[in-house]
């Protein structure tokens, strides 16, 4: 199948926009003007002003002399580019690849899109009608190449032209050379030589054309005739994994949105499954009738192409979509894709480890509801200071780099902050005989220690800790430490830091 392109030309782009924004300008001739070398020069003129012979580029003073009632409005710099970008984004509802063609045009790659609107005529008519209803003067054309469509838009006979593949060359040859998007000097030279249609020089020897008019002419001719490929830069980079669902009637109910989401996910997941890939994040965008856009985003802990699971992740937030007057287009994108090799379904799953897909799905559900901050997994760190001996794992797949240490006693419950206790302890380094914690007196029957843990001097300053494992007369086991030495100046403080099982 050959490519099809649509070019749209807004000959009065900026003035149309001003007339839309300021209704008092409608029906009267007005121009937009910019300062240029100390005088005001017309940058754009509306239809009535053009009809009076006031072209862009004329100084405002001259135009005023021609037409005293002419209204002059200050032009906004960069307005055309901004408008074109917005219009191109709007056109994404018709095709995913929409690009701007400054100063006044858009280019759409519509290959394979037109049948969704029931044919090329209805497709192009729909675009043009909607732009015209919005208040823009529009000329549009569809052809096999961007060049041919561009030429038909600017120099064609009718407002809307659809050129078939067969008669494209013939139609192009009838047009004047400026339809080829050439440099003004080249066009000028062609006219001076009496070459007033493309057909009059298209058959000439290529080497002669190149010598006389430069390589630009040949390139543009080849592009228009489809001998050289030309690409457009889409306004929104197209994600490789994207599914679209246009709706005949605007969707306004939650059920409708759910059905749309379900269908899009099924399409996307089928494709992912075939390619042995899975998505890590997905964006569900709804384009509303009034031009607004609503988005839902989800993320998963591991690559998945499980439709049911993904629907569940989206489900809680569907209620946040405001359909307003209705949604006419749904797009599902998967910006992050990872390999997800197809696993053979086992009837009796032996693996219950963290790579189990059920667990990933469960964690996705929890993340979706409470945020990822609520889930932690700990890995050992090569540090002795108890509070820093574990570090949070960054992903579900991360494996410990060092083995868990088991050679030192560590309490099963660790207090988040060591708590001060009163002790009676023989000096210099014996475990306490008794201690008081939260008003309760514990007489120590057995003790182990000390285990000295030095402070990490590169992190913080302070005394080291001497840890003791103690058991009181009731058989309850604690982890106590003395902060620092006994010396002449001070008596060190004692703390409780944990409970042994």
């Amino acid at each position: 199948m050959s490519s099809r392109f649509v070019t749209i030309w807004f000959p009065l782009l900026t003035t149309d926009w001003f007339a839309l924004r300021r209704p008092e300008l409608r029906g009267i001739p007005f121009v937009l003007a910019v300062k240029d070398h100390g005088r005001m020069v017309i940058s754009a003129a509306d239809r009535l002003a053009l009809g009076q012979g006031i072209p862009p580029g004329m100084p405002v003073a001259d135009a005023r002399a021609l037409l005293p009632e002419l209204q002059v409005v200050d032009d906004k710099p960069g307005l055309a580019a901004k408008l074109l970008k917005a219009l191109a984004v709007w056109c994404i509802r018709f095709t995913p690849i929409a690009g701007v063609d400054p100063p006044q045009g858009l280019v759409l790659d519509v290959s394979g899109c037109t049948h969704l609107w029931g044919g090329e005529e209805t497709y192009l008519k729909e675009i043009v009608t909607r732009l015209q209803t919005a208040g823009y003067t529009v000329r549009a054309a569809m052809a096999d190449t961007i060049g041919a469509a561009w030429a038909a838009t600017r120099y064609g006979v009718s407002e809307v032209t659809i050129t078939g593949s067969a008669d494209q060359t013939a139609a192009l040859l009838r047009l004047p050379p400026e339809a080829l998007r050439l440099e003004p000097e080249v066009v000028d030279r062609l006219h001076r030589l009496g070459l007033r249609t493309i057909g009059s020089f298209a058959g000439m020897q290529r080497s002669a054309l190149r010598r006389r008019f430069g390589p630009g002419l040949l390139q543009q001719l080849d592009r228009a005739l489809g001998l050289e490929a030309e690409t457009i830069e889409p306004v929104q980079p197209r994600t490789q994994y994207q599914e679209r669902l246009p709706c005949l009637e605007p969707i306004m109910t939650a059920t409708g949105i759910e059905i749309a989401l379900q269908r899009l996910l099924e399409m996307l997941c089928n494709r992912l499954q075939k390619e042995e890939k899975g998505l890590r994040s997905a964006i569900f965008s709804c384009y509303r009738v009034d031009g607004k856009q609503q988005q839902l985003t989800i993320g998963t802990n591991r690559a998945t192409h499980n439709t049911t699971h993904l629907v569940k992740l989206f489900e809680p937030s569907i209620a946040t979509i405001e359909p307003d007057l209705g949604i006419e287009l749904f797009i599902l994108e998967a910006p992050t894709i990872e390999d997800a090799p197809a696993v053979q379904e086992t009837l009796f799953s032996g693996s219950t480890g963290l790579d189990n897909s059920h667990i990933a799905e469960l964690l996705d559900k929890i993340t979706g509801r409470f945020g990822s901050g609520s889930i932690h997994r700990w890995l050992p760190d090569e540090r002795h200071w108890p509070e820093r001996s574990i570090k949070p794992a960054t992903s579900l797949q991360e494996k410990p780099t060092t083995p868990w240490r088991t050679d030192r006693p560590r309490p099963i419950h660790l207090l988040p902050r060591p708590e001060l206790i009163e002790v009676t302890a023989p000096i210099p380094d014996y475990p306490p005989m008794l201690f008081r914690y939260k008003g309760q007196l514990h007489k120590i029957a057995k003790a182990d220690g000390p285990e000295r843990i030095e402070r990490e001097w590169w992190v913080d300053q302070g005394p080291h800790r001497d840890y003791y494992t103690v058991e009181d007369e009731a058989g309850q086991r604690y982890w106590l430490f003395r902060s620092g030495h006994y010396d002449d100046k001070q008596t060190p403080q004692w703390f409780i830091h944990g409970f042994f099982a």
Partner: protein
């Protein structure tokens, strides 16, 4: 001709599966190494695929419960499974352990009880309702070896939901109920209370010995409650010989019928 007791035994065996106690398939038995305690359980096996609650009132008792449970979960994790640990959470501080103000299980120590801490996923939530939701969802998830919930209060309905979830998924759940306001009636299969016992140092060695607990099985559906002294030594449970009375119903746990007749006698 089968005797009366034979018939009753057969009926009991038939009733057990109906109540959610499926006899474990051969080769699928997890050895918990609980020794003499096994006689107290229905079918003679520690009930997996059920929800157990461990009640505690003191901080020391809570640590002891966590240790005993750690030994059980460690046995369940032996086949490479993962565990979800639902706890009351708070704001987590920057670098280290999540600091919620309360004492927190220290992953470093779980290795002592046969658990691999890197296969434990901790979920920390502020509200009890959310914790119960996560607990239920996790118990429905067949990929997990066990689910631990630090949830003090649980009503009958909530516990019934958990029980229905595990009956389908066969995941074992543990509820650590520390300082519960009302223990009440619920659908958990077993209720345990673990308190620390003085350890016995190895012969001739000074210091603190292996962790030793007084394990009370307060309630067990279709089993016999009892009290045992256990020690965690060398990576497995070891029954302590001079225990107070293995397998005998303890004081305060009079069988229901006896209690009723007693009341009747008093009334009459």
């Amino acid at each position: 001709m089968p005797t009366k007791s034979d018939i009753i035994q057969r009926l009991e065996r038939e009733i057990l599966p109906l109540q959610g106690f499926k006899p474990p398939k051969s080769g699928d038995v997890t050895d918990f190494g609980l020794g003499p305690m096994h006689a107290a359980f229905p079918n003679g096996h520690f009930p997996t695929g059920a929800v157990h609650e461990l009640v505690s009132t003191t901080a020391e008792g809570e640590a002891a419960s966590a240790g005993f449970m750690g030994g059980l979960v460690g046995a369940l994790m032996r086949s490479g499974g993962a565990v979800l640990w639902v706890g009351a959470g708070g704001v987590s501080s920057g670098g280290g352990i999540s600091m919620g103000g309360r004492r927190r299980v220290f992953p470093m120590a779980l290795t002592n009880f046969g658990m691999e801490p890197d296969r434990v996923v901790f979920v920390e939530l502020a509200r009890q309702k959310d914790m119960l939701w996560v607990m239920e969802e996790a118990l429905k998830c067949e990929g997990l070896a066990a689910v631990v919930g630090e949830i003090p209060e649980i009503g009958f309905t909530a516990s019934r939901r958990l029980q229905l979830a595990v009956e389908k998924s066969r995941v074992t759940g543990f509820l650590l109920r520390h300082q519960s306001r009302s223990l009440g009636v619920n659908a958990c299969v077993a209720r345990w209370r673990v308190s620390p016992l003085a350890s016995e140092p190895e012969a001739g060695l000074p210091g603190v010995g292996f962790p030793r607990w007084n394990v009370e099985l307060l309630k067990i559906r279709n089993g016999r409650p009892g009290v045992w002294a256990l020690e965690w030594a060398g990576g497995r449970f070891r029954a302590v010989e001079e225990s107070v009375g293995a397998g005998v119903p303890m004081v305060g746990e009079v069988p229901m019928t006896a209690a009723l007749s007693e009341e009747k006698r008093k009334a009459g």
